[in-house]
Amino acid sequence: MKVKILQWHGVASWTWNAQDETCGICRMAFDGCCPDCKFPGDDCPLIWGSCNHAFHLHCILKWVNSQTSTPLCPMCRREWQFKG
């Protein structure tokens, strides 16, 4: 029995390597994007804190900028520091 391959298409998929599936602030999936963006990926990346909690970049920036005192991690309430 012989099979002749005429053509083939390569398909790749990617996903964020985060512990959770949704952002703790906007409740949207990490593989989706934050409420203000339209496309996931480079335009709406994830960002990790020193406590290893991940959020959409725009969500955590909005939260950090809205705090008058030292911002805390929304999940564990430790002092928020962006992971270098």
């Binding site: 703790g24 602030i25 906007c26 409740r27 949207m28 934050c34 409420p35 203000d36 969500c59 909005k62 939260w63 809205s66 008058t68 005192s69 805390l72 929304p74 999940m75 309430r77």
Partner: protein
């Protein structure tokens, strides 16, 4: 979907709130219920059950949550509508989750976590906080019983409709107020000082638990009896079956022996010879069939082998 289409889905707060509505509907809780108004998704009506093992147990307490326009980055405000003896009604209450303390708010919190916290706050002392009260236990229990009778009156017709709907569903879920404890509590309060009353209350509660335990034990004792009876019946049936089989076997063995022994001696038994001949005939016929089957099998095997050789080459 029609209701959803009304809202401005570009607003991040609306998106977050719609996510919470879906989650609340797909994963309801027996301790509380909440839903937004149809015309204003930022205003929610809720009802919570009084926490168990407290003077609020069995009560249904309604309230309103007002979410801010930049939710979840700012905390909501809470207002109770049903008298409870713990929170004032129609006045915003001061909690670590409410807008009185925005510095304590976390954007990962939600309406669900707020209601769980509110239920947990009920038995705590008010401490003079804004919107808090410190009624006596018996007064609170009376208010709990009263809270089940009618939902509170508040706001427009649409709000009242939502409140009534929530009240009906909570009534179907909620267990009744424990009446016996109410009577015991009243008696204790009438007869004994507060501390002793509370101690005995705890003791009686423990006794109640033991009583419930003994009741469950008796129920457990009753349940296995039908099973054991059915097992006994099965055993009897099996015994009878075995007896029948043994009896039939004994009959067969006994019948075989006398047939063989008296045959050559008594000419009277010659009458049974046709029966014996029939059996022998049947046996011979069977053997003939078996031999023919074996011959046919060998024939087919030879043909099969030839086919295999042909196929190989």
């Amino acid at each position: 979907m029609e209701a959803t289409a009304k809202y401005n889905r570009g607003n991040p707060a609306v998106k977050r709130i719609l996510q919470e509505v879906k989650e609340m509907q797909s994963n309801p809780s027996p301790d509380f219920m909440a839903m937004p108004l149809e015309e204003d998704i930022f205003e929610w009506q809720f009802a919570i059950l009084g926490p168990r093992d407290s003077e609020f147990e069995g009560g249904i307490y309604h309230g309103r949550i007002q979410l801010p326009s930049d939710y979840p980055f700012k905390p909501p405000s809470f207002m109770l509508l049903t008298p409870s003896g713990r929170f004032e009604i129609q006045k915003k209450i001061c909690l670590s989750i409410s807008n009185y303390h925005p510095e304590h708010w976390q954007p990962s919190w939600s309406v669900r976590t707020a209601l769980v916290a509110l239920i947990a706050f009920m038995p705590t002392p008010g401490g003079g906080a804004l919107g808090s009260l410190d009624f006596k236990k018996e007064d609170r229990r009376a208010l709990a019983i009263k809270s089940r009778e009618t939902p509170p009156k508040f706001g427009s017709a649409e709000r009242q409709k939502v409140i009534d709907e929530i009240h009906e569903q909570m009534l179907s879920r909620a267990p009744p107020v424990p009446q016996l404890l109410t009577n015991e509590t009243n008696e204790e309060t009438n007869q004994l000082p507060a501390s002793d009353a509370s101690d005995e209350h705890a003791h009686k509660a423990v006794g109640g638990v033991n009583t419930a335990g003994s009741n469950s034990d008796s129920v457990n004792n009753d349940l296995p009896r039908p099973d054991s009876e059915s097992e006994i019946v099965q055993h009897i049936v099996e015994g009878r079956t075995e007896g029948v089989s043994n009896h039939s076997r004994a009959n067969l063995s006994r019948e075989n022996i006398p047939r063989v022994a008296p045959t050559p001696q008594n000419p009277v038994v010659a009458i049974q010879k046709p029966k014996h001949d029939r059996l022998l005939t049947l046996a011979a016929f069977g053997l003939t069939l078996a031999i023919m089957a074996l011959v046919i099998k060998k024939f087919f095997k030879i043909n099969g082998l030839a086919g295999y050789i042909e196929g190989k080459f």
